[in-house]
């Protein structure tokens, strides 16, 4: 209880000042410490000035906080030009008294130092600028220039310390930029004076691909993400990608959606994939990964949903042509606005730029299905670890939006185990279909099976996977002593079985006929016995009648004889 109260108190004490920089406010849980200076350090070209400028512009436009930009390096004109490409109209904001830009020019060769001095002039200028527009935010870019402009470092040091204190007293949320030193965060140790919040920007080029990263080194009295967060500078300024902060909290759907192949749906518990799940299709070259993905995309569009197809290997028209050959017309969906094909070489940008692009498309296009074909190509631009981390973030994002994602991955031929992917992302997949080629009888055919499918009963059967002019078709395979039979071997087996079946049918027919004739013979015999009996019966009857007649006649004769003898008896 006491702890909870304390936590609330701390939260109240630490007011945050939103930067308006996408992503940064999320990793700092709200922004920079309000009314305090923040040090932003990094090497040349790492984006310090831009971060400061965006902080001010967003403050002026979104949060109603005017700001002073004191530039020690670039003139107001240069600054205005530099940020115009990002859609910031600095001159307009200056005219509206929302931003005050003061260019401070310090050049050692023009200055002679003759005794004691202080930097009160700087304070007066800054104070005047703040008062003129009622500023709440201040950016000093880069105060370290003072060290090169003035020879007395001790004075500069003392005065900067005083300046930061003064800014704090005035309640200014300030961003102070500093150039990275050899072994220190800043060349002149500014981090010693600005200790509330330190943000480090890094710009690395690995294998010709540049990646920008942001890290919060310190944030006194506040929780913050400690990771390095990739960021990029696009048309709208700085964009930090804090997706790892999403966590595993997304609500899953029970709805099922068709894979586009009835037979495959049957294998997947009869209904297809779960909506919002991640489906991985891996396989060696030419096993039909793209076709399977296209079939899925086609099915989604057919249901009236929108599908984003990210192609990292083939152009849109190439995919269109190839899929038409198996009877899938993707162009119609593009025309109807249900399918968006985003085709580009992975090497065109760094990984983060790809991620950001996808992130930008999703809220605008609102796809329910996303296909990435193939993810294995991404590893050409970054290390496996980077690709994996990017994919995790991407999949988390897609899952949180309930988007069903299909990833294809190329398994290099000749791998000992097909059940592994280059990038090791199999654990991220909810369903994993494995395509493999089966070489038998001088033929190469495609086989498919479901390696896993979380949360549903699914078939464990290997199916032959065929590309027909009307789409993907799955067939049963024959498992014989020589292994799985596909292709013509399967056809031969089918013919053989048909023949066998036919011959046994004939035998049965013969047996049936035999039986029939025997039945007839038996019936004939029965008939004969019956007629013989009838004849005997008739004969016996006749004899009986004759015997009776004879008796009657005998009786009559006796009477007649007695009459004639005139017998006295009778």
């Amino acid at each position: 209880m006491a702890l909870a109260t304390k936590a609330v108190m701390i939260r109240q004490q630490l007011d945050k000042c939103p930067t308006g920089v996408r992503g940064l406010d999320e990793i700092t849980s709200g922004g920079l410490p309000k009314g305090r200076p923040t040090l932003v350090c990094g090497s040349a070209g790492s984006g310090k000035t831009l971060l400061g400028m965006q902080f001010l512009v967003m403050g002026a436009l979104k949060y109603g906080e005017p700001g002073v930009f004191m530039s020690f390096e670039e003139t107001g004109e240069e600054l205005a030009q530099n940020v115009r490409s990002l859609g910031f109209d600095l001159k307009d904001l200056e005219a509206k008294k929302k931003i005050f830009v003061d260019y401070v020019h310090v050049e050692r060769s023009e200055i002679e130092e003759t005794g004691e001095y202080d930097l009160e002039g700087l304070f007066i200028r800054l104070g005047n600028a703040i008062d003129t527009i009622g500023a709440k935010r201040v950016v000093l870019d880069t105060v370290e220039t003072l060290f090169s402009g003035l020879s007395n470092a001790a004075i500069v040091r003392a005065e900067l310390k005083r300046l930061f204190r003064w800014l704090k007293d005035k309640g200014m949320t300030a961003v102070i930029t500093g150039e990275k030193g050899v072994n220190t965060l800043t060349r002149h140790g500014l981090e010693e004076y600005v200790s509330d919040c330190v943000i480090f920007l890094d710009h690395r080029v690995t294998e010709q691909i540049s990646t920008r990263r942001l890290r919060i080194i310190k944030y006194r009295g506040s929780t913050h993400g400690t990771n390095e967060f990739p960021f990029l500078i696009d048309n709208d300024g700085i964009h930090v990608m804090p997706i790892t902060s999403l966590g595993l909290k997304h609500v899953v759907s029970r709805e099922r959606i068709s894979s586009g192949i009835p037979r495959l749906d049957a294998m997947l518990g009869g209904k297809g994939y779960y909506r919002g799940s991640t489906v991985l299709i891996s396989g060696t070259a030419g096993t039909g990964k793209t076709s399977l993905a296209a079939q899925f995309a086609d099915a989604a569009c057919r249901r009236g949903e929108r599908c984003l197809f990210l192609a990292f290997e083939e152009s849109e028209s190439q995919i269109g042509r190839n899929m038409r050959s198996i009877g899938i017309d993707l162009a119609q969906w593009v025309k109807k606005g249900r399918l968006q094909v985003q085709a580009e070489r992975p090497t065109l940008y760094g990984l983060e730029a790809h991620l950001a692009e996808i992130q930008n498309i999703i809220p605008r296009f609102k796809p329910s299905v996303v296909v990435i074909d193939p993810i294995s190509n991404l590893s050409t631009v970054a290390s496996f670890i980077d690709v994996k981390s990017m994919l995790i973030r991407l999949l988390d994002l897609l899952k949180s939006q309930g988007v069903t994602t299909m990833l294809t991955a190329l398994t290099p031929a000749g791998r000992s185990s097909l059940e592994s992917t280059d990038i090791g992302i199999s654990s991220l997949a909810d369903a994993w279909l494995l395509l493999r080629d089966i070489e038998i009888g001088g033929e190469r055919n495609r086989g498919m099976y479901i390696l896993k499918s979380r949360g549903m009963a699914h078939s464990n059967q290997v199916r032959e996977f065929r590309l027909t002019p009307h789409g993907v078709d799955l067939l049963d395979v024959y498992v014989g002593p020589a292994g799985v039979l596909t292709g013509s071997a399967r056809l031969a087996q089918e013919a053989r079985e048909k023949a066998e079946a036919a011959s046994s049918e004939a035998e049965i027919e013969i047996k049936r006929l035999n039986l029939e004739s025997r039945r007839k013979a038996m019936e004939a015999e029965i008939e004969a016995i019956r007629s013989r009996y009838k004849a005997e019966e008739a004969e016996t009857e006749r004899h009986l009648v004759q015997a009776r007649q004879r008796q009657v006649l005998l009786g009559e004769d006796r009477v007649r004889m007695a009459k004639s003898r005139k017998a006295d008896r009778g």
């Binding site: 401070v104 003759t114 005794g115 004691e116 001095y117 009160e120 007066i124 003035l150």
Partner: protein, 110 residues
């Protein structure tokens, strides 16, 4: 009236037209340092530029906006507006030699 004598500032001061030296001393309030700076400047000018100079004392506490125009950071700052090029000397001007060098009244010794 303010005639420029090119190259004349290099080695020694030649008598030029009055007020050919236009000097501005920026200070912030009447601090001991600003008073000292003004006194030091006055003394140097009387010694080297008698009759040819004009000193304008600017208190930035009263006119803070003026700091931007002459790119003032450190205080006190002495700005030599004329003769051109503009020169800046910061500090309380207690180091006379350096003031003279800064004003181009004495060659810079390597």
């Amino acid at each position: 009236m303010a005639m420029k004598k090119k190259g004349s500032e290099r080695t020694r001061v030649r008598p030029v037209a009055p007020k050919a030296w236009d000097l501005k001393l920026y200070v912030a309030g009447q601090t001991a340092r600003s008073v000292a700076a003004f006194a030091n400047l006055k003394k140097i000018c009387e010694e080297h530029l008698k009759g040819q100079y004009r000193i304008q004392l600017i208190d930035l506490l009263e006119n803070p906006k003026l700091a931007r125009g002459d790119q003032i950071l450190a205080l006190p700052t002495l700005v030599r507006k004329l003769p051109t090029p503009v020169k800046k000397i910061i500090g309380d001007l207690s180091n006379k030699d350096r003031v003279l060098v800064g004003l181009d009244l004495r060659p810079r010794v390597p």
